[in-house]
Amino acid sequence: MLVLAGGGLLMLLVVLAVAAPLYAGDPEALDPFIRLQPPSGEHWLGTDNLGRDVLARTIYGARISLIVGLMSAFLAAIAGLTIGIIAGYLRSFDNLIMRVMDALMSIPTFLLAIALISLTGPGIGILIFAVALPETPSVSRLVRSVVLSVRERPYVQAAICGGARLPKVMLRHILPSTFAALMVQSATVCASAIMTEAGLSFLGVGVPPEIPSWGNMIASSRLYLATAPLTVLAPGVFLAITVLAVNLLGDGLRDLFDPRSRSR
């Protein structure tokens, strides 16, 4: 039920974002002579501080925010999975790997992101990396703990004794068991990535100002909250809906994979 609601909402947003060029206007067309205008027939949600169409930018913003959210969740999941399995399976590396993960985890997310972005200047690629990197340790810890418990189970032990090669054991037995926990964790990462992006834009180190992203729009329009509230509200509402969808999906997945926690 929750999975359907969350997943459906998310799919709808993805479709809206992908199809943006078919129906939304040009998000980058600017005209300094029509700054901060109220809604009109031409600009349904008014214009922003460079005279750009707020509606078009909000719709295109879905692309950036979803890419940032989904990609960083994906990246953190893949990296966390690999590291977690290696640490959980090859015990000799375990201590070293987990201390590196501790080190990464102990640097505050925002400060690490700001330092990373100072490397290349603001951009979508570095932003995804900067969001995914600090999330990797928590994913890898989770995977590691699952691996540790799974590898002791009789059927896995049996497979190993029976001479199954390592990749096969991973693929057959360990991956499926970690999948559930991974999905739930990824949903959290995705939601927090979108919020982190907004916070970084507020501090002036998010995606470059010309690229429409929700975080960027909210941050750069915050001075107009009183005079042109739609410049903040439009991306804000979409942001909330997206985070809601992702959270619902995460909750639903948890219920699905772990029936015990299902709400009654």
């Binding site: 600017l30 603001p122 002036g204 470059p208 010309e210 915050r222 001075l223 909250l225």
Partner: protein
Amino acid sequence: MTISRRNMMKVGLAAGAALSLPSVLRAQTAPSDARTVRWVPDGILQVFDPLVSTANETSQHSLAIYDTLFALDSKGLPQPQMVEKWGLSDDKKTYTFHLREGQAFHDGSPVTAADCVASVRRWGQADAGGKVIMESVKDISKNDDRTFTITLTQPLPLLIPSLASAAGLYLAVMREKDASRPVTEQVTANIGSGPFKFNEALARPGASFVYDRNENYVPRKEAPDGFAGGKVVNVDRVIWNYLADQQTAFAALQAGEVDLVQAPASDLYPAIESDPNLELEIMNKAGTNMFLRLNCLQPPFNNVKARQAMLHLIDQEAVMRAAGFDPKYINPVTSIFGRTTPYSNDENTGWYKKGGDLEGAKQLFQEAGYAGEKVVVLQTSDWPAASNAALYLANTLRKIGVNAELASSDWSGFTARRSNKGPVEDGGWSIFISDWSDSKFGNPLDIPALLANGDDAWYGWPKNDEYEALRAKWGDVDTLQERQALAREMQRLSWDFVGTVMLGHYVSPVARRKSLTGLVSVLSVVYPMWNMQKA
């Protein structure tokens, strides 16, 4: 669980209190609220030495705690400040300066001629205009405790305006022992003879700084007039409270938690004007010019036609509006000498109609043989006005078929990149935006944007020998009329080789509570803090 949490918190709070114990010892009796002005500066004061940094905050800090030999009045003319009287020999080569009585540094030691000599020497090593003057200086020496002499090899009419810091770095008079440090080494003693004392104990670098009234300061008798005249301090304390977020600064002003915001975002003007307790006031009568620099070493702007194309392309009003300035406070600027200086003129400005001549610009780019090379526009993410102007610029360039690309970075990354002389593929650049107080455009010896000596010039490195020959004459010209004629000549050449393109002139008012009065207006972005009064 809650219990262990609570215990942990107690420990934490105790630790916090213990750590801040030293500040208990430092705590002093704070002056009453009515005699304290809370001031939100434009940026963080990071460098304390006026000769190390061109940053406005550094100059403003220095203006408060140091005094100067001469100071500019509200018309931009130099008037004696620390100097009581001065004389010039008949051959116009020997200047004698006599200091006012009763001047002392904040540590109690009297201001002597030796301090002045050392301070002028140090300034002469750091300031571009100072260096030019030093070339003609035979000797600077002290006669007695209150008299010193500057002897020149040739007459130098620019000497007095330069000593008044008309254009370059702030000539602050420091103690001899501070002023004898090398110019690359920061003076952080912060001890001057100015009307305010720097409160070292209450300094919170990156957050707030406290300036206390110097009760031993003897002001001049004249009424305040620009930086000149009597610097009478009517409050006990001025607190600089740096607020990184504009919205917060505005809210704090509304709530009366601060008295003045030095550079409110122009989009907040309407809200400020509609609040009955607040007022906008223009302290800087000269305003500021925003301009762009073109990389003259790399294609396409190594071709003069492409640079001229930019003159035709820029619609100053559109750029300034895109940058976010209030239409009421912007003006076009078409002279390389700015809008308000005595040398501003209209020579060779036929290219300016209103700008925005897309066809003309396109034509010139074609004549320059432009073949789709990448044009990199540097964008600074932590300076919204310039960032938005860069965005608009790139957008406009794309409209005429130029392959413009924005390179966004923080200010740090930006400063690193703009010093790269190489092609854009190797981390170079094509265009960047900067700004500079209009009043400073009156001195081509000093302002980096007015140099055209190739590799030695400011970023962009324009080269024009004929122009440089004229600029070399600037210091030798005697009268205002002759200098104005020279300025026209220089501008004629300048708008042909185009090292700098003007983007517009803006005036930026301060926002203050109506209870704060008596602000002194100046021709500068650096604001005096004396004379103000709190009701």
